[in-house]
């Protein structure tokens, strides 16, 4: 909402300085977005006089003018206007000026070899009218003494731009703002002065509001003004319109706009001669069409509130008028409409048709139901003053009385909510100044709510009115209490934070990417999850919710590879989506690692990242988070985007149904499809939702410290097993032979090749044997040795390598 301080002062009697008013506005909830000298751009337009005009030597249509702009010396301006002649008073724009019509910035320039310092302006260039033939000719009597002065003198005023919250339609008019300021004690609200206009005769066009279900119009006021001469608006009006950044159109249109901005009272003017017989306010029928003032044809559905005549739809009530009945410069008779439309109806229709207009914006938020006649009076007065014409009586059709709403307000609520006290008299004064009718009844106030405040419906609204006018600075700052109701983080949240930092500590950079992604990439990773489309994506390549963290990670990996990075470790912890209902999401860690380990290293040989890098990182992370490595079970199954032979899944325990993690090399096809060029790419995923809360807390884990000081023995074995035989199974077989004696098993070599049959491999392992009861003798060791060999051979079909 824009307005000038001068305009505000037409409603507010105040001695306060501008900056005090500005600060007050913000303090009472009318946030000042900007307070700027919009006119600074208009200040460069000066009243000027052509002292001499001569023919341009190189161009027939151009003249070189010596222009007096009130300085010691005249300036030379090259001008193409046929009316540029000696002694003409006109408007000069110097270099640096911005021409309102096209926003072009002037500079000193050579025109056909002659330097021109600025330009002489036409009316259209200044948005004063559409007159573009020739430069402005100012009347000598009024302007001869003003050479060098600013042409737009009223615009030295700064323009205030307020950000009005949706609950305050009353402040979409200058008067509403003035009322709030008056209540806040920075001035007095002036009475609206209406000249006594003569109403002659009845309004001849019949108006009716039909009793349709969900009728969107409850009041339709109108008056006929006959015999007007529509024309350009007078300067004061044009300047008001221009100062707010709008374009003057014609007196009638400008006046309706002016009343809207002044009182937040939208009006509509019809060319009365174009109305077929009568006005019927009714619901539309599906399929009806009309051409609106935005030059678009709209096809209407059922039950939209339309203003119609015998021939059809004239306009959408409260939203936009139609071309058929629009006023033009030669309009003679006008019908002025001042109506009330129900916000819900306005919102529904404008949403369906996707129309956004100033009127819609206002009606949607709620217009003062009692401003019908005031709007008609104000506009009719101005129209007759500027355009002449005979004003009819006002015709008001009503289907709802719109009586004032009432609230009982218990004053103690104010202190209960705000924590400070304001005495009853001050409360009453604030509310009265805001337009409430107040009567006191013991502890309660009986309030009648002003009709321009549709937002106020209950006691808490009254608390807000009082506290914002009184000022939030009166609220005490209370020290926060430190009492806790609950632990800060629950187990899952602790785990989240732990895993996040655990993964990062292994050299991965954490990233945060969109929860949505490109469906084409997502398809590569979605497996059998459902694709979840966004109906209105921000762009076509961010059109689905991600089914995997890898979609965005691989996308950004490529970007970083393209930047010249080779060895990249990235991870993200966040949601992936299974389906489109609330809660159908999983929290997943996805991590990827590309390139080489020890690249260009003087003391270590480099190698390409491989599946065991990923496995190490994921296992270490899980172990650090408190899960027992001894119980982990690894399967060689994984989603299809992993390399089928170099990937696996991890279960916390053999009996678990869901794997908690996947790891492996990324499938070469994925790299190909995404055009990712790297020596190697591995990754892992941890599904937090399948990680069980550790039943044993750390504090319980640490109660018993048991250890053995008896001598340890180590024995090496090499077993020849089938190539597909899994190391995990071998370890499982050995460790379950005697859990008390076999302390650890380490695989130190895998061998295939010479001396080993083709379909076999040799696994060499080291077993640590230690008793917690005695020093083992050679015979004990020999016994366990034999047991290991015989058990492995029986259970796995392996042969000990001799």
């Amino acid at each position: 909402m824009k307005f000038t301080i001068g305009w505000l002062k037409e409603h507010l009697d105040t001695q306060k300085k501008d900056n005090e008013l500005i600060e007050k506005l913000t303090n009472i909830g009318l946030e000042v977005e900007s307070f700027e000298n919009l006119s600074s751009s208009l200040d460069s337009f000066k009243v000027a006089k052509i002292i001499n005009a001569e023919q341009h030597p190189n161009a027939d249509r151009l003249r070189i003018c010596d222009v007096d702009i009130g300085l010691d010396n005249t300036v030379k301006v090259v001008c193409g206007a046929p009316n540029a002649k000696k002694d003409l008073l006109t408007i000069y724009a110097g270099p640096g000026s911005i021409i309102p019509k096209n926003n072009m910035k002037l500079s000193v320039s050579k025109i056909r070899g002659v330097t021109s310092y600025g330009m002489l302006c036409s009316e259209s260039e200044l948005n004063l009218s559409n007159e573009s033939e020739g430069i402005i000719e100012l009347p000598t009597g009024k302007y001869s003494g003003k050479i060098g002065r600013n042409f737009f003198n009223s615009n030295t005023e700064k323009v205030v731009d307020l950000s009005i919250t949706p609950n305050r339609p009353d402040c979409l008019g200058v008067r509403g703002i003035a009322r709030d300021l008056a209540a806040a004690g920075v001035g007095k609200l002036k009475k609206i002065s209406l000249k006594n206009i003569k109403n002659n005769g009845s309004q001849k066009i019949k108006v009716s509001i039909t009793k349709d279900k969900n009728q969107g119009c409850t009041v339709f006021g109108s008056c006929l003004i006959e015999g007007v001469t529509n024309k350009e608006s007078p300067k004061w009006l044009k300047e008001k319109i221009i100062s707010l950044g709008q374009k003057p159109i014609s007196a009638i249109v400008d006046i309706t706009n002016y009343v809207m901005l002044d009182l937040n009272r939208p009006l509509h003017a019809y060319d009365a001669d174009k109305i077929d017989n009568e006005i019927i306010v009714r619901n539309s029928k599906n399929g009806e069409t009309f051409e609106a003032l935005d030059n678009k044809e709209y096809k209407l559905g059922d039950d939209m509130c339309v203003i119609s005549d015998k021939s059809g739809v004239l306009g959408l009530g409260g939203i936009i008028g139609g071309i058929r009945s629009g006023t033009e410069i030669n309009t003679k008779n006008i019908l002025l409409e001042s109506a009330y439309f129900i916000p819900r109806s306005i919102r529904k229709t404008s949403k369906l048709l996707n129309i956004d207009t100033d009127a819609k914006f206002r009606f949607e938020r709620g217009i003062d139901t009692q401003s019908i006649e005031l709007g008609l009076s104000k506009a009719a007065e101005l129209i007759s003053e500027i355009c002449g014409g005979k004003i009819s009586n006002f015709d008001i059709q009503k289907t709802d009385k719109h009586e004032k709403n009432k609230i009982k307000f218990n004053v103690s609520l104010f202190e209960k909510i705000t924590g400070f006290k304001v005495n009853d008299n001050e409360i009453i004064k604030i509310l009265t100044d805001l337009g409430f009718e107040v009567s006191k009844d013991k502890f309660e106030l009986d309030l009648k709510i002003p009709t321009w405040r549709p937002d106020i419906t209950q006691s808490i609204d009254i608390v807000e009115e009082i506290v914002r006018i009184k000022g939030y600075e009166n609220i005490e700052t209370l020290q926060p209490e430190k009492t806790k109701i609950k632990d800060t983080l629950n187990a899952q949240q602790k785990l989240f934070h732990f895993l996040q930092r655990s993964v990062a500590s292994k050299g991965y950079f954490e990233t945060v990417t969109w929860s949505f992604t490109d469906s084409k990439i997502n398809k590569l990773f979605k497996e059998n999850l459902k694709e979840i489309k966004i109906v209105n994506p921000i762009s076509s390549d961010l059109d689905v919710l991600r089914n995997s963290i890898f979609t965005n990670l691989t996308f950004y990996l490529k970007k970083n590879l393209d930047r010249g990075f080779k060895d990249i470790s990235l991870f993200e912890i966040g949601p992936i989506f299974k389906d489109s209902k609330p809660g159908e999401q999983l929290t997943v860690i996805g991590a990827i690692k590309s390139g080489k380990i020890s690249r260009l290293n003087w003391n270590e040989k480099d190698r390409v990242v491989d599946v065991f890098d990923a496995k190490k990182d994921v296992i270490q992370t899980l172990v650090e988070a408190g899960y027992d490595r001894q119980n982990f079970f690894v399967k060689d199954e994984s989603p299809s985007y992993y390399h089928p032979g170099k990937s696996g899944s991890i279960y916390l325990d053999k009996d678990e149904i869901e794997p908690v993690a996947f790891f492996g090399e990324i499938h070469p096809n994925i790299l190909k499809k995404l055009d990712i060029k790297t020596e190697g790419l591995v990754g892992f995923e941890i599904h937090m939702d399948y990680l069980k809360e550790n039943k044993i807390k750390l504090k319980d884990l640490k109660t018993n410290f048991e250890y053995s000081d008896y001598q340890k023995s180590e024995r090496d074995f090499a077993f020849v097993v089938d190539k597909n035989f899994k190391a995990q199974d071998l370890i499982e077989i050995i460790s379950s032979i005697d859990k008390n004696l076999i302390r650890s098993i380490k695989i130190f070599d895998i061998y295939e090749g010479e001396n080993i049959p083709q379909d076999k491999k040799s696994i060499a392992l080291n077993v640590t044997i230690q008793s917690s009861e005695k020093t083992l003798e050679e015979s004990d060791l020999e016994k366990i040795n034999k047991l290991i060999i015989s058990t492995v051979e029986t259970k796995s079909g392996a042969k000990i390598r001799s």
């Binding site: 506290v467 914002r468 109701i485 609950k486 292994k506 950079f509 489109s580």
Partner: protein, 355 residues
């Protein structure tokens, strides 16, 4: 006796010269070997007259000790010398680079969330979360923003179905609704998380982060709200004093509502928080609207309290001097390295928020 002295002097002299281990061992044998001079002297003890024997034995013992000590120290000396020369040969260029290590980073958003959680933990808040996909009811209607309310236009919503029933939450406020529906007052929670609006430019990103705060009890008023936020902002920016301004605003789910500005100034091209004559809007808050309390089955005549919503990314930008919001989500390795935090740098209230 003179023989003994001679032997002693001779060998002490020998041992003073530059010897290797073998020569020292040779000397050892010459003196203490089977037929060594000292050994032989001991053997001759028996043949001496009793009166001389005692003196001779005593002299012999002292010479023996002296020579033995000398030999031991000589051996020690040689050993040390040899080790030193061996170590000298093993010398490497320690200015060569160390073995490779990799250092990961925590994203600024995560770090800031941890900072925020740490601060609010200190004043008794616990952390709640809610789903990213919400239905229209929890995101809007239950928060006193019915379908016909123009405030809905303030949120450019991403929808997941044509009926506009399912959407990506536009704010973290639906967590308020879920928390209150699933529990009984009092409530004292924060809810950080991802939020979405279909808006994208220099200062808007289609996804961003908010933290919601909610404190409901019997007598929580606007003074508590002011105190809580004042405490938070001071702690977060790690300053003792902060210039703060509460000004009236409007949100459908709170009343009275406020927006909070903090004072700042630009010094040497950098933003300095807390002082100065410029205002920067950083959050919205207010007393939870009675309609919201009714919608979540909390009696507004018995319980009241405040709620607030803060933009996490923006707080991070201010605190850590990050200019472009969109860069948060673009995964530029250089950016992550520059603005990321060490994973061991866990914000906590006992060791401080930031290093």
């Amino acid at each position: 006796m003179s023989d003994l002295k001679k032997i002693k002097d001779e060998y002490l002299n020998k041992l003073d010269s530059d010897l290797n281990i073998e020569s020292v061992n040779q000397i050892k044998t010459e003196l203490f070997g089977k037929n060594g001079q000292i050994s032989n002297s001991f053997k001759s003890l028996g043949s001496l007259p009793t009166d001389e024997r005692k003196k001779f034995a005593s002299d012999l013992n002292s010479i023996k000790d002296e020579l033995q000590d000398k030999i031991n120290s000589k051996l020690q000396e040689i050993e040390t010398k040899e080790i030193n020369s061996k170590l000298e040969n093993e010398k490497v260029d320690v200015t060569l680079p160390e073995r490779e290590f990799s250092r990961g980073k925590i994203h600024p958003v995560s770090q800031v969330i941890d900072e925020i959680s740490s601060i609010f933990s200190e004043i008794g808040f616990s952390v709640e979360e809610g789903p990213d996909i919400e239905n229209e009811h929890y995101n809007f209607t239950a928060l006193n923003t019915p379908d016909n309310h123009p405030a809905r236009d303030m949120h450019d919503t991403f929808y997941l179905d044509n009926n506009k029933e399912l959407l990506l939450r536009t704010h973290t406020s639906p967590v308020q609704v879920r928390t209150m529906l699933n529990g009984k007052p009092p409530f004292k929670i924060i809810a950080p998380g991802r939020t979405y609006r279909s808006d994208s430019d220099q200062t808007h990103s289609p996804m961003f982060h908010q933290v919601e705060g909610l404190h409901i009890d019997k007598d929580i008023n606007m003074g508590h709200l002011k105190g809580c936020l004042n405490y938070f902002i001071k702690s977060f920016f790690e300053v003792d004093k902060i210039k703060m301004r509460f000004r009236p605003s409007h949100f459908p789910f709170t009343e009275p509502s406020a927006e909070v500005d903090i004072g700042y100034e630009i010094k040497d091209g950098k933003i300095v928080i807390g002082e100065g004559d410029k205002w920067l809007e950083i959050l919205g808050c207010g007393m939870v609207h009675p309609n919201v309390l009714k919608n979540v089955k909390v009696n507004p005549d018995k319980y009241q309290g405040y709620a607030f919503g803060i933009g996490i990314d923006r707080l991070g930008m201010l605190k850590y001097g990050i200019n472009d919001l969109r860069a948060f989500f673009e995964t530029d390795y250089r950016w992550l390295n520059h603005f990321g935090f060490d994973p061991l740098d866990v914000p906590s209230n006992y060791r401080g928020l930031s290093r």
